[in-house]
């Protein structure tokens, strides 16, 4: 073994061991748990109509969410990418806004707007003098509605990026060869955008499958796998919960495999010196219609945010049957900062997010460095380990942790974390590992590998090379990945709902608790605070990056 190899192993072994212990072990424990009495739990699962329904509904919702997101995201990307019209810049600015809403906050905003006692619903009911609400925000339709709003952003961003990289001369070549607009779209533009579309479809599918907040709040009597798991766990039917978790994870892996397979034929990449210029819409009438349409979308996109802000000033308990909340106050915010029980979740969320992010930065930097620059036997394994949590729904990750770290048993590598503060930072850390690692990896890949050799050749020590060459190269990825991790962690709901305790409850759980107590104003104030935290972290990351760059 050369000294280089020895060094590789010295760094790699702790990282691989940590990931095996935190990622593989809990999931393996879940799978093993599902077989703890032979096939008994599996028979139970297969025999249960509720579970069969949950599996079916989960898949129906995921597929429907994919198509609903496509239906919004693709046309919007074309409209904004290819045409110039009054209001385009405003629409572009707000088009990604839904992604800035933490998952549970988006759901609440929809509840305030379109729920049975929501503003829009009541306004329509009053206007037309209906005896009942015109619709109920419940069931598959409601869940897909919320999913489409929050997840179309993936489709929009991927297709927009594809259009930006799209080589305009290909379109021109096709038209020069006699292809009309429709033929060009069908034979050239869409096939070339297919990789971007497929990648975004996969993202939406995975997110919808693992989604918890929308089914939890709007499900009504509806069962989906993620909520079934929590229900089984709450009822103490751990064996069944293990089976449900395994099925959920397998569905995700199957989806992943399916999309990889659909995209298998691609051998080309879109690389060009920039897309074509946007076309001004010539017809006055169509231009006006486009602008009106754009205005409607802008309102629809901004309304949930405005609604949360508005309700955050509503006096708790005052909003009963009115269209809009009748009384406004600063009381909700004042209480968040003055009452220790209300302040607690904010402190928890911020500190747990910071701890998880710090761990992510250290572990993912080392992992990415090893993956990009070092050749050693365990590299493939390490790559798999950092990417794996992305394919596992958060509910499954959380249940794995709950099943594994529920007692102290050093012989089997178990320590008691359930019920302690540390279980949530660990869950956040696992969820965000793929995010941070891939960001750092892509930064490091842009660095010329010979720079490290050059630095060593010039006499720099290993430490100096790290500090002066590798870390600066990784920095953009560390900042971007760290920001994403912190933002996700501070609003995290799906894993938290499985693992939280009263003392370490994060903001999301407190929002849910306040909603249950019908304290809409307080719940909304927490939501606004969460949005502000996300904004603050984004600004901090940007100014940090600017100062260093």
């Amino acid at each position: 073994m050369t000294s280089q190899q020895r060094q590789n192993w010295l760094i790699a072994v702790p990282v691989i061991a940590l990931l095996l212990w935190s990622v593989i072990y809990p999931n393996a424990a879940v799978i093993a748990g599902s077989f703890e009495n032979g096939l008994g739990h599996w028979r139970e699962f297969l025999a249960s109509p509720a579970d069969r329904e949950a599996l079916r509904t989960s898949i129906v919702i995921s597929v429907a969410s994919v198509f609903a997101s496509l239906a919004i995201g693709v046309p919007l990307a074309f409209l904004l990418g290819r045409f110039e019209f009054p209001g385009r810049r405003l629409l572009r600015a707000v088009a990604t806004l839904p992604a800035a809403l933490p998952p549970l906050v988006g759901v609440i905003a929809f509840l305030f707007l379109y729920g049975e006692s929501g503003v829009v619903t009541r306004a329509i009911q009053r206007t037309f003098g209906m005896a009942e609400a015109p619709w109920r925000l419940q069931g598959v339709g409601a869940i897909v509605f919320v999913h489409a709003y929050t997840m179309y952003v993936y489709v929009f961003l991927f297709v927009s990026a594809g259009l930006e990289r799209f080589d305009a001369t290909l379109d021109e070549a096709a038209s020069g060869l006699g292809a009309n607009t429709w033929q060009r779209l069908r034979r050239v533009t869409l096939p070339l955008l297919m990789p971007a579309i497929a990648a975004s479809m996969l993202l939406v599918f995975m997110n919808a499958l693992g989604s918890f907040s929308a089914p939890y709040v709007f499900g009504g009597g509806l069962r989906v796998l993620s909520t079934q798991i929590l229900a089984s766990k709450t009822n103490g039917a751990m064996g069944l919960a293990y089976v449900e978790t395994t099925v959920l994870a397998l569905s995700a892996v199957a989806g992943l495999g399916l999309f990889r397979w659909l995209d298998r034929k691609r051998k080309y990449t879109l690389a060009s010196k920039g897309g074509r210029a946007r076309r001004t819409i010539r017809s006055r009438r169509i231009q006006r219609l486009t602008s009106i349409f754009a205005a409607i979308i802008v309102v629809a996109l901004v309304l949930p945010h405005l609604m949360v802000v508005l309700v955050s000033f509503a006096r708790d308990g005052s909003w009963t049957t009115q269209v809009l909340p009748p009384e406004y106050t600063l009381e909700n915010y004042r209480r968040l900062f003055s009452e220790s029980e209300l302040w607690r979740p904010i402190y928890n969320s911020v500190s747990m997010a910071l701890i998880a992010t710090a761990a992510n930065l250290v572990v993912c930097f080392v992992a990415a460095y090893l993956i990009v620059f070092r050749q050693f036997a365990g590299r493939g394994l390490l790559e798999l380990l950092v990417a794996l949590p992305w394919a596992i729904p958060a509910t499954a990750i959380a249940l794995g942790l709950a099943a594994t770290f529920n007692r102290n048993d050093l012989a089997t590598g178990r320590i008691l974390l359930v019920g302690t503060f540390w279980i949530l930072p660990l869950a956040y850390f696992i969820r965000d590992t793929p995010l941070v690692a891939s960001a750092v990896e892509s930064s490091l890949r842009q660095m010329d590998a010979s720079l490290e050799d050059a630095a060593r050749g010039l006499g720099a020590s290993w430490l100096m090379t790290m500090r002066r060459v590798i870390l600066p190269a990784a920095r953009p990825g560390l900042v971007a990945g760290g920001l994403l991790a912190a933002v996700t962690a501070v609003g995290e709901f799906v894993a938290s709902v499985v693992l939280y305790t009263h003392s370490n409850r994060p903001i999301s759980m407190e929002i849910l608790a306040q909603l249950r107590a019908l304290a809409f104003g307080t719940a909304a104030a927490y939501s606004v605070l969460l949005i502000l935290l996300v904004l603050l972290m984004t600004l901090a990351a940007r100014s940090f990056e600017e100062r260093l760059a």
């Binding site: 096709a174 038209s175 006699g178």
Partner: protein, 366 residues
Amino acid sequence: MTAAPQAREGVGQGSERGTLALNGVTRRFGEFTAVDNVSVEVAPGELLALVGASGSGKTTTLRVAAGYEIPDSGTVTLGGKDITRVAPERRGFGMVFQHYALFPHMPVEQNVAFGLEARGVNKVDRLIKARAALASVGLEGAGDRAIQSLSGGEQQRVALARALVIEPQALLLDEPLSNLDPTLRQAMRDDLRAMLRRVGVPALFVTHDQEDAFAIADRIALLKRGKLLQSGTPEELYHAPISREVAAFIGRGSIIPAEDKGATAVVTIGGMKRDLNVTRPKGSASHFDNAFVVMRPDALELSRQPGVLAWRGRVVNRRFAGGVVVYRVELADGVIVDVESIAADAHEDDNVSISPLKGPFPLVPG
């Protein structure tokens, strides 16, 4: 060489071949005038090169001809018919793009057949025609290959086959050779000229490389800052440039101030006067107040002996160019000339004498 004749037999949309003409075309982008009142004509079977430095407006001119740009003023006609506002997909022109613009998601054959597909030609016929077109550019049997597996030269041929298979009314080529390596480029010049000739439609191509233009084109239109400086045969541009700018761009040589005497011009260097035979641009003024002669390297003679009537100078650079040696010689008054000589025995820093051959030398206004 099957595609082109076949193309002629299977003519779809009007077989009469017409001259492609741009008449006083102007195209502005905001404040910037990319093409300024340019008129050019290309007869069927003729090859016209649009030549100019980058930013001269040559590509925009080509795009106007193709229909991708609509001129702010002026017209485009084909066989006398105004097609200025006809969309590219209805022009029936074959275009070869600078980076070829081959569809990366289709194999070679589908790329070539695409124009036929757009015209609703059935699958069997379009495959037959696509294969014939591929054969005509020397790519038999390459139909199933992926675009990514082709070399630059092969991609260029596929792009050409794709443009030819639709039986184009005109051929437009944007820097068709610029992406090829130098050796391939030499060979492709001859091939390209032969293939374009065979098709027998007006062919307009853009290049920044005058050697490409010399080798391929029947006529050259030289553009600068959107304006047409001169158009004519390569010989005309080389031997009878109409302005200093044309002389500077086309061919090598030094442009030296002279005193216009009508049929001759007097050049004075270091006090030594020589009266040179000159050719004046067609239809130019009978006298230029500010006149220059163009001294090409092959119109001067170098000698190691001091001649009575020769200009004295010093060799500053010597470049072996096959059969001849090109010397760069610094004369008096800071005048620098390039001289081609079969004599190889002068070296850098040698003193030499330079005398003009009998000419005539192009005379241009300043």
